[in-house]
Each structure stands twice: as C-alpha cells, then as structure tokens.
C-alpha cells in the first residue's frame, strides 16, 4: 500500500456551505477515513455555474480562471470538487484556457497575472479510482452496504462534454457502479442514469424541470432501487422537489459521499442525511 501523503486542494462551492452541508461533511469524513488529505482553498469565490459556449465570451471564464489562479498561488496542482456544477465549470474552463492563447492573454490582463497556471480539476470519484484504488477501497469498508439496492445517477454535467471532461464513457458510464459495488451495494440497471434532471429550469419553469425529473424517478423505481444516489446538489433538489410536488411514494435520494462515509464506518447521524434516506440507512446496522 503506497502511503503517498499528497494534499489535495478542496473547493466546496456555495451549495455545500449552505443548503447541502451533508455533502461536504460526509465527503470530508470519508476522505479522512481513507487517509486522503484535503485542504480547503482559502477565500474561494463563485465558480460561475456555467461556462460560455460562444466564441467571443471571454469574460464568462473569469470566475473559474480566478479560482485556478488562487489554487495555484496557494500551492495546489490538483483541486478537488464535489458539486457537479463546480466540477464541470472548473474542469471545462481549465481545458479551454489551455487551448486558447487569445482567451489566456485577455484573462491574464484582467486578473493582473503573468501566465495562467495549469491546475488539474478533479472529482472525488477520480481520487477514489486513481489515488485510492478499488482494492484499497474494498479493504477499507467497515460496514458493507449489503442488500441495499441503489440506482446510480450521473446526470449530465458530470460526464459531458466527454472530450473535455474525460471522466468516463458519456453514454454508458460504469464508474459509480464499480465504486458502489466495492462498498457492497447492489447496483440496479437504471436506464436514465445519464439523463438531465431539468437543471436550472426549476427557476423559471418548475413544470419543465419536473417532467425531466419524472422520467428519471420512474426509471429508478422500475429498476427496483431502494434509493437513488446523486452526485449533484441541483439534481438532488429537483428529484426531491418533484416527489413532494407529485406526492408519490418517495424514493430516497442520497449523496454519493454519504454512502461512501457510511460504508467506511462513519455513524449515519453525522453525515447530514435527510429523510427519508436517513431512516432507510439507519436500518443497515452498526459497522462489523
């Protein structure tokens, strides 16, 4: 077992400081249990939420570029994120800025820096796959999540665009599945795992977002899942919101790091799990 004591920069993002503290808390506990050292980026700012997709909008890259500059100044060459929005925005911005000299020149002038640094933006899933490894993860499990049927939901921004994100196959990903199986879960065959939840249409047209969420929920229920595991705070919000609105028998939605921390032996009441998932997970019993 290699004992590489690397410290990753950690960028939580706005949601993890407010509405979804459980995602931050459980990921920190899981990383501590696995010996992954995280150091939160000091004085972090908004990631920007989206990257521009037209040629002449350089200013849209300013928010993520500022974070990359800060991360480098604070000594990090790899920056870990959890929120899918932050991950997608920062990773795409880093990719774009490497390939566009004109954009780099303008942003350097605006930020008052000489040369934009190369900082690798990574996701917790990659840290588990590439730095911890599945074998060590399997050995670290204290409370195998036996008998728990989980629908693995990726959403859209975690994987796409594949040529920039390069995390997993955008059409038939398996990364979350193999990790969940290492934790002892049973993963269901869930056809809507890369579908869009309706995203920020929730702001302007809840019904549009709701229709998108419906398809995902129906598909997860059809796969006979006990719960759905989400990566993104907005996916979780939309799926929960839709279930409350339609008053269907709820399919609990948990964040991936909550299941991870639980399997690593962390007590369920320290992970910020919301109902009804908290009750379902409490039934799993104590670590062996």
């Amino acid at each position: 077992m290699s004992e590489e004591k690397k410290t990753f920069g950690y960028y939580p993002g706005c949601e993890l400081r407010n509405r979804v503290k459980g995602l931050d808390l459980s990921a920190r506990r899981a990383c501590r249990a696995l010996g992954i050292r995280l150091k939160e980026l000091k004085d972090w700012t908004c990631c920007g939420g989206l990257v521009p997709q037209v040629k002449d909008n350089y200013m849209g890259f300013l928010a993520p570029a500022r974070i990359l500059v800060e991360a480098h100044a604070q000594g990090f060459d790899e920056l870990m994120t959890l929120c899918t929005f932050c991950f997608n925005t920062l990773r795409r911005a880093a990719f774009f800025l490497q390939g566009h000299a004109e954009a780099r020149k303008r942003l350097e002038l605006f930020l008052g820096v000489e040369g934009l640094p190369r900082v690798k933006v990574i996701h917790l899933l990659e840290v588990l796959r590439d730095h911890v490894g599945l074998d060590r993860l399997r050995e670290s499990v204290q409370r195998p999540l036996k008998g728990l049927r989980v629908a693995p939901y990726y959403g859209c921004l975690l994987l796409r665009p594949a040529q920039e994100i390069k995390l997993d196959n955008p059409e038939a990903p398996t990364l979350i599945e193999v990790i969940l199986e290492a934790l002892g879960c049973e993963v269901t065959d869930f056809s809507s795992k890369t579908d869009c939840c309706g995203s920020y249409h929730i702001v302007t047209n809840g019904q549009v977002a709701g229709q998108c969420s419906d398809l995902i929920l129906r598909s997860a229920v059809k796969s006979k899942a006990d719960m759905l595991v989400a990566m993104c705070p907005l996916c979780q919000f939309n799926l929960d919101w839709r279930q409350k609105q339609t008053r269907t028998a709820p399919l609990p939605v948990v964040y991936f790091p909550q299941l991870l921390a639980l399997a690593l032996g962390e007590p369920v009441d320290t992970l910020g799990v919301a109902e009804p998932a908290a009750t379902a997970l409490s039934a799993l019993g104590s670590p062996t």
């Binding site: 859209c156 796409r160 398809l215 907005l234």
Partner: protein, 135 residues
C-alpha cells in the same frame, strides 16, 4: 406539418454570425434526428433540435432567434454526445440566445417571480439561470 420557406431569401448576415459565434458547421448535419431523440427538452421546444440545423442550412435564422427552443435548451449535451457528425448543437443554441440578447429585447421565457419562492431554490440554479440571460 409542412412549412413554406423561401430559399431565395437567405439571411446570410445572421447565418454567418451564428456560425462564427458557435464555431460549428451546420452543413455537416445529415438530419438523422439523433439530437432530437436524445434531447430531454423537446417537449418544451417549438422547433425540435434537428430542424434548427435544417433551418440554418436553408439560411433561415431569424425565426430561430425568435424561437423558444434555444431558451428551453439547458446545455446537457445529450445532442452533442450522440451526434454522429460531431456537431455541438448546444453551442448553436447558445449562439442563438446570444444573438437574441444582443439584437433583440428581453429574453423569451423569463418571467417575474415572487422572491419567496426564489429564496427556496438552490444557488447553483439561480446563478446558472441568471448567467444564461446576461451573457
């Protein structure tokens, strides 16, 4: 439903602007329709994704700038993932929105909302939704 389009009146200036902003080649599209079948939001659109490309090929851009489809697009990139010709339709949608914002008035589908509901929404959704109408 059939629609009559005058092929003699190509809106070249607009077409050029959309091609430059999006950096996409509309003429690569051979209308297989994979984008439309992959898109999760066609039900909220007046022009389905593959027809947007067809209209651009035919030089008809103004109707697309006034269409609600670019505002329904959320940039999930299902279309770009499944396109066999490598066309990134999400970039074309953003170019259409950009031209709309730069040339026309207020965005198509944004309405005033009560602050109380907005305060219950996730920050990421608010930031993303606002950015969509301000750049």
């Amino acid at each position: 439903m059939s629609q009559v389009i005058s092929l003699h009146r190509r809106e070249e200036e607009l077409i050029k602007e959309i091609a430059e902003l999006s950096e996409q080649n509309f003429y690569a599209c051979y209308q297989c329709g994979k984008c439309t079948s992959a898109c999760p939001l066609t039900f909220a659109m007046d022009e389905p994704p593959h027809q947007i490309l067809r209209f651009l090929q035919l030089g008809q851009a103004k109707r697309l700038i006034e269409s609600r489809s670019p505002w329904a697009c959320i940039g999930c990139l299902s279309c770009a993932t499944y396109c066999p010709k490598g066309v990134d339709l999400a970039r074309i949608m953003e170019a259409l929105r950009t031209v709309h914002l730069r040339r026309l008035d207020a965005p198509f589908c944004y309405t005033q909302d009560d602050g109380e509901r907005l305060s219950t929404l996730p920050q990421s959704a608010l930031v993303a939704a606002l950015r969509k109408v301000t750049w």
